[in-house]
């Protein structure tokens, strides 16, 4: 399907905060509790609709390990949006945000939209809840309640702190859960909306590829009226 624009996103943040889980949830609508450490770049893509226009998000999921940092820097180029992720149950991942932000500012274009994400990455303290989910969908909500209680008890970064950091540095902010998919759609789509608004305001020069925006082959409006899910781009199996 043709698209009006392609936006390049990059997902950054400390290792283990759930960057790959967020991507998988957004593109495939599934959660994988155990994920291989990312090395290099993993790609994902999905179509969304904003203002009646089809927009393709090309998402670069990067390695979060400190030791890969110099490699990750090479991927910032040409990104229109960045998702800067920390884990609300790990204070250190929040403390490292400044470093990530410095890297992002230094190696990307100045107009790049950055969404700060406080992700709930924590595993459930009730191992049997997953089993219950398999056998009884009715009990799923019960396990979610347990989990939320559990998460809140282990929260190390208050939501207000995330909001304050975002305000101070001019970022958008959301708390998400890659596991329950809470706010995951919104995080990706709101970032795209912000980029789209900048295009409309003429902030982005869309003819300059360094801005991470490409004009699609057919810049035509579609009938869609709402921003939202257009289905996973890479869903449906396939290798690697």
């Amino acid at each position: 399907m043709a698209y009006a624009y392609l936006f390049k996103y990059i997902i950054i943040g400390d290792t283990g905060v759930g960057k790959s889980c967020l991507l998988l949830q957004f593109t495939d609508k599934r959660f994988q509790p155990v994920h291989d450490l990312t090395i290099g770049v993993e790609f994902g893509a999905r179509m969304i609709t904003i203002d009646g226009k089809q927009i393709k998000l090309q998402i670069w999921d990067t390695a979060g390990q400190e030791s890969f940092r110099s490699i990750t820097r090479s991927y910032y180029r040409g990104a229109a949006g960045a998702l800067l992720v920390y884990d609300i149950t790990r204070r250190d991942t929040f403390n490292h945000l400044t470093t990530w932000l410095e890297d992002a500012r230094q190696h990307s274009n100045s107009n790049m939209v950055i969404m700060l994400i406080g992700n709930k990455r924590t595993q459930s303290a009730f191992p049997w809840t997953g089993i219950i989910c398999i056998y009884s969908h009715k009990l799923t909500s019960l396990s979610a309640i347990f989990e939320n209680v559990d998460l809140e008890s282990r929260r190390e970064v208050k939501k207000e702190e995330g909001e304050a950091f975002a305000r101070e540095h001019g970022l958008i902010f959301m708390e998400t859960s890659a596991k329950t998919a809470s706010n995951v759609e919104e995080a990706f789509i709101n970032t795209a909306k912000e980029i789209y608004e900048k295009i409309q305001e003429g902030v982005f020069d869309i003819n300059n590829e360094a801005n991470g925006i490409k004009i699609g082959p057919q810049h035509a409006a579609t009938n869609a009226t709402h921003a939202g899910n257009q289905g996973g781009q890479q869903a449906g199996g396939g290798c690697c």
Binding site: G130, P217, G237
Partner: protein, 341 residues
């Protein structure tokens, strides 16, 4: 040998990068010599293209406006079927899914490839999966880019033409060269595996290989090995690639940290109960295939610095390995004097 894929299009779909191209009609692909013998030196088409290992679908995706990655680097690629070990090798996915595997260089003048590319390919139902000239372009999704330093390639089963690809994070893929590829193509992969493991000292020393062109102007390659000067020039002329060069840095320093983190992660995994998401519906996440066949990690030593790097301290060489790969595939495949690269 620069790669300028033809037929690149900007026609994309919701789910895919559609690639269309026209292919020259070649005779049967059964002998390398045929290509060399058929055409005069100065007009010789690229045999790699005919064999489907250059300017293929993966190359076109990577070089497409959508990605625009490593635009001046050649991509060596083939079509594979992902299999798993058992009593016999078994395909993991439906026949309509294959994997495109390729190597390239983040900077074209590197003597060896340093990037591994992986893409999943979905063929149309009943479509012939002929890699070098498909009747209709399949849907191809670029999945990942891995620095080759974090990957080990081995020939796993010569008879079945299966490669083993192991990442530093212990993810293992068994990849069977697609049956539509001629035997020559598997020889190229064997050669590549050897080169990646043992280095390629012949890159600039083998007298059989006549260097007929040079990606890097001679005055750009300082004989004293002043790579800083060269890199500076490259940065000025190719800003889009200058950052990619960063990838070459920091890889070796990453290793010790990776191992430490892996150890931590393994401990974490063993203490975790695997929880199944209600939406996952048992979809294969290839965990089974990520279990290494051996815990012997001595091979990791090869990640630090390859032999070729020690032999090429300046870091920049005038001839890309990708050009020499075919030329040095062996006397049975190549005439004594390289008259074609």
């Amino acid at each position: 040998m620069s790669s300028v894929p033809h037929g690149k299009t900007w026609r994309k779909s919701k789910k895919t990068v559609k690639v269309t191209r026209s292919y020259p009609t070649f005779p049967s692909l059964n002998a390398w010599e045929e290509f060399r013998g058929l055409f005069p030196v100065d007009q010789e088409p690229n045999p790699g293209v005919g064999l489907g290992v250059e300017e293929g679908l993966l190359c076109q995706v990577v070089h497409s406006p959508e990605f625009n990655l490593f635009p001046n680097s050649v991509v060596f690629e083939s079509n594979f079927v992902q299999v798993k070990r058992g009593r016999n090798w078994r395909d993991i996915y439906k026949a309509s899914y294959t994997m495109a595997l390729g190597v390239t260089s983040s900077v074209p003048c590197l003597p060896l490839p340093n990037i591994l590319l992986m893409a999943s390919v979905k063929w149309h139902q009943g479509q012939s999966q002929t890699w070098n000239r498909p009747s209709t372009a399949p849907n191809i999704f670029l999945k990942r880019i891995l620095p080759l330093k974090f990957v080990e390639l081995q020939v796993c089963d010569h008879h079945q033409r299966i490669l083993q690809l192991r990442t530093v994070t212990e993810k293992i893929y068994y990849l069977k060269l697609h049956p539509d590829h001629p035997e020559t193509v598997f020889h190229f992969w064997i050669r590549l595996v050897q080169i990646l493991q043992k280095g390629l000292s012949i890159t600039t020393k083998d007298p059989r290989i006549l260097v007929t062109h040079c990606l890097v102007p001679k005055n750009c390659c300082s004989p004293s090995g002043d790579s800083k000067l060269v890199q500076k020039k490259l940065q000025a002329s190719q800003p889009s690639e200058s950052l990619i060069q960063l990838m070459a840095k920091g890889e070796s320093e990453a290793l010790s940290q990776i191992f430490a983190d892996l150890h931590q992660q393994n401990q974490l995994r063993s203490s975790k109960k695997v929880e199944i998401n209600k939406n996952s519906s048992g979809r294969d996440s290839s965990r089974e295939d990520s279990i290494p066949c051996t815990r012997d990690l001595r091979w990791r030593a090869s990640f630090t610095y390859g032999e070729w790097e020690r032999e090429n301290p300046s870091g920049l060489q005038p001839l890309s390995l990708l050009s020499t790969l075919a030329a040095s595939t062996g006397p049975q495949l190549a005439p004594p004097i390289g008259n074609s690269i």
